[in-house]
């Protein structure tokens, strides 16, 4: 039975600009354009002022701000590469744990758990998402760090006979602890947003796949996850951006030592925590250097967002292509 495909508007195509009738719609449109223009203006002013405030540092160190290996306020030498490495290391550790556990939890909440457990788990996730970052940092420092230092780190060290990547000394604080604290912080975000996008996958697709003989796990893997991919990618992108920019929680548990992390137990420093820590009493040149760190951080977040949007767009284009063909 041939059916004409539904004319579903593609949200990625921009709306045709409408000309408005001056008589009746100008108030409506001018308010809309005004408000969105104001928002764009605020964003632009913010970005430009941060970039301008960092210009003295770029003039002082040039591009070695990005690839230099020593960050020392005392000698006014600013090389942020170890700090960028620390930021990436903690974020990657957090994502390695958070993506599978987060998406798995979301799938479990929507499709696998019984009803009462579903509601309980959802409320728990939303509760965790509302906890302020500094509480996570304090918890990490007071509860996790001693446990890491006494139990977890020696156990991991025994696994590799005290060699890389689990070498002594066992200090508790370090990039592994910071990565774990970040994991606990971004997990609720991934679970909550993925849960919503998994829940809106149409029941017909789920039941249709079951009816052609797929097992539940095959349905989840081949039908539900791809259909929810847009939302999941968006959730992971937001979580990555939060992990990149997390300041206080990381500052308490990472050790704040701007050197390259050479093992998983090393102390290191991240962009945001360096800015927060070294801002007080900084001379104007040092403030500019910290502004440069902010610019680097914003650039990294923008790249992550761009990657996320590319992934979403690719999914949506493929889906559109599939829809048009059928």
């Amino acid at each position: 039975m041939a059916t004409t495909p539904l004319a579903v508007p593609d949200p990625l195509l921009t709306e045709k600009s409408r000309s408005f009738s001056v008589k009746s719609d100008w108030a409506h449109w001018s308010v809309l354009y005004g408000v969105s223009g104001l928002f764009a203006l605020i964003c632009a002013v913010f970005l430009i002022s941060v970039i301008v405030s960092s210009i003295p540092a770029w003039r002082h160190s040039g591009l070695s701000l990005i690839y230099g290996k020593t960050w020392s306020q005392g000698t006014d030498s600013f090389g942020a590469l170890p700090i960028i490495a620390g930021t990436l290391a903690t974020t990657v550790i957090a994502l390695i744990f958070a993506i599978p556990i987060g998406i798995g939890s979301a799938l479990a909440i929507v499709h696998l758990l019984p009803n009462k457990a579903k509601i309980f788990a959802s409320s728990l996730v939303e509760l965790l998402a509302a906890v302020p970052s500094v509480v996570y940092g304090l918890w990490g420092l007071l509860v996790l760090a001693p446990w890491f230092e006494q139990t977890v780190q020696p156990a991991l060290g025994n696994l590799t006979a005290h060699h890389f990547p689990f070498d002594p000394p066992y200090e508790g604080v370090g990039i592994l602890l910071a990565g774990c604290v970040l994991f606990v912080m971004i997990l609720p975000m991934i679970v909550a947003l993925s849960r919503d996008s998994i829940a809106i996958v149409p029941k017909e697709q789920f039941e249709g796949a079951l009816s052609v003989g797929a097992t539940k796990w095959q349905v989840l893997r081949k039908v539900v996850l791809p259909a929810a991919r847009t939302g999941i990618v968006g959730a992971v992108t937001l979580a990555t951006a939060r992990a990149l920019g997390e300041t206080v929680a990381v500052a308490l548990v990472i050790g704040l030592n701007p050197l390259f992390p050479h093992t998983l137990f090393s102390t290191a420093s991240t962009l945001a925590s360096t800015i927060a820590l070294q801002f007080q009493d900084a001379t104007p040149l040092q403030v500019a250097a910290l502004g440069a760190l902010a610019v680097i951080l914003m650039a990294m977040t923008a790249i992550v967002n761009w990657i996320g949007r590319r992934l979403i767009r690719r999914t949506a284009v493929k889906a559109q292509f599939v829809r048009r063909r059928s």
């Binding site: 760090a145 000394p169 604080v173 308490l252 704040l256 030592n257 001379t283």
Partner: protein
């Protein structure tokens, strides 16, 4: 009852004498009303202000507990005075603020030099150091606690060269020869030393590096500075004195430096505190007496020569330093505010013992600082006497 004249006379004179005695007793209470003893007339006038005025200061975090406690007491003694809450924004910002005249006084752990004026505030390039007065208002020391589990003793002897080598990453283990030689009878474990330092700009770091450079210049060649130290691998940087204290408590085999008053606030740190070898060759634990002796060993300090680390003296603790308040020498805006400013700073830098009252340095002792020695209090007074308003001296014994 009818009394004859002599009995009435006896009763009346007893009553008079009794009330005179009780009045004298009441007025001898510290700070209660007008004092009858005033061996320090300036101090007596410090808490009397005839016109109401408001002032505020900002700067060093080291001075913050002292300022907060002192302002509360001063405000209760002097109803015409309003002192806005001290902003603990750091010494550098405090100096910048006073140069820009945003505050009435700036708190700094390291007195301003001429080059600091332009470095901190580019608009201040035309000002001279002689345009400012710098007054010592607090005295503190830097203790070196460590956390070595299983150590049978509560203190280890260390000297500046050893500490400098530890902080540069040249001494790796607790049972290194450098430490064992200074502590021959102590069994030290073969564990890695974890170095803890301040990650933010700090006057405590300044005093510590001042000591390392003064006592071991060949090992620690860099001059004293407030900026964070570069740590060796696996070192930990703490945020503030409390951050460093928490890091030392939580990390076994660690060593760090904190403001002396933090030892009193965190008694667990007392499990291991280093005794530092001073210039006379004695190993001294940090204490109020030791820091006082260090201050007394160099009575002639000035904003250009203010370092009291590594002094001669059998019991002098070698890691100590002052904190200062910076004001403009010639006040121009408002006479009442300028008068309040000099009176408050004079009160803050003195002890009230001469007048039987409580003044700033008595509050400091309660907050864990070391009270300023008497000769340094006198230096504060002579410096404040140079403050002028329209050419006339501000600090007077008048209640105005």
């Amino acid at each position: 009852m009818k009394m004859n004249r002599s009995v009435r006379l006896a009763l009346t004179s007893t009553a008079v004498v009794f009330s005179a005695l009780s009045l004298a007793a009441l007025s001898a209470l510290p700070g209660a009303g007008a004092t009858t003893r005033s061996s320090d007339p300036y101090l007596a006038a410090d808490t009397q202000l005839s016109t109401s005025a408001t002032i505020g200061g900002a700067g060093s975090t080291f001075a913050a507990p002292l300022e907060n406690a002192a302002q509360a007491l001063y405000g209760s003694r002097n109803p015409n005075a309003t002192i806005n809450g001290y902003q603990a924004v750091g010494s550098g910002t405090g100096e910048a603020d006073i140069i820009k005249k945003l505050v009435d006084w700036g708190g700094t752990d390291v007195p301003m030099l001429q080059k600091d004026i332009a470095k901190n505030e580019s608009s201040g390039a035309n000002y001279q150091l002689s345009d400012f007065l710098q007054i010592p208002i607090g005295l503190g020391g830097v203790a070196v606690p460590f956390n070595v589990p299983g150590l049978k003793v509560k203190t280890l002897v260390m000297n500046a060269a050893l500490l400098a080598n530890i902080y540069e990453g040249n001494v790796h283990n607790w049972n290194a020869a450098a430490i064992q030689d200074l502590n021959p009878h102590v069994k030290l474990p073969h564990t890695r030393i974890i170095v803890v330092a301040r990650g933010d700009s700090s006057g405590t770091t300044y005093i510590f590096t001042n000591f390392l450079h003064a006592a071991a210049p060949k090992v620690w060649a860099t001059l004293a500075a407030k900026t964070p130290l570069s740590l060796p691998t696996d070192g930990i940087a703490g945020n503030g004195n409390s951050g460093v204290a928490a890091d030392i408590e939580n990390t076994p085999n660690s060593i760090g430096y904190v403001e002396y008053s933090y030892l009193l606030l965190n008694p667990t740190l007392l499990k291991g505190v280093a005794s530092i070898l001073n210039k006379s060759g004695d190993a001294v634990l940090p204490s109020i007496a030791g820091i006082s002796d260090a201050a007394a060993a160099r009575p002639k300090i000035s904003p250009l020569g203010f370092s009291i680390v590594y002094q001669w003296g059998a019991k002098a603790y070698p890691i100590a330093g002052y904190t200062w308040a910076v004001i403009w020498k010639n006040q121009t805006t408002n006479k009442a505010e300028a008068t309040l400013l000099v009176k408050y700073l004079d009160w803050l830098s003195h002890s009230g013992a001469a007048n039987g009252t409580t003044a700033g340095q008595d509050v400091a002792a309660l907050q864990g600082y070391v009270p300023l020695p008497v000769n340094i209090q006198a230096l504060a007074r002579t410096t404040l006497l140079q403050a002028t308003y329209n050419g006339k001296a501000l600090l007077t014994t008048n209640a105005s």
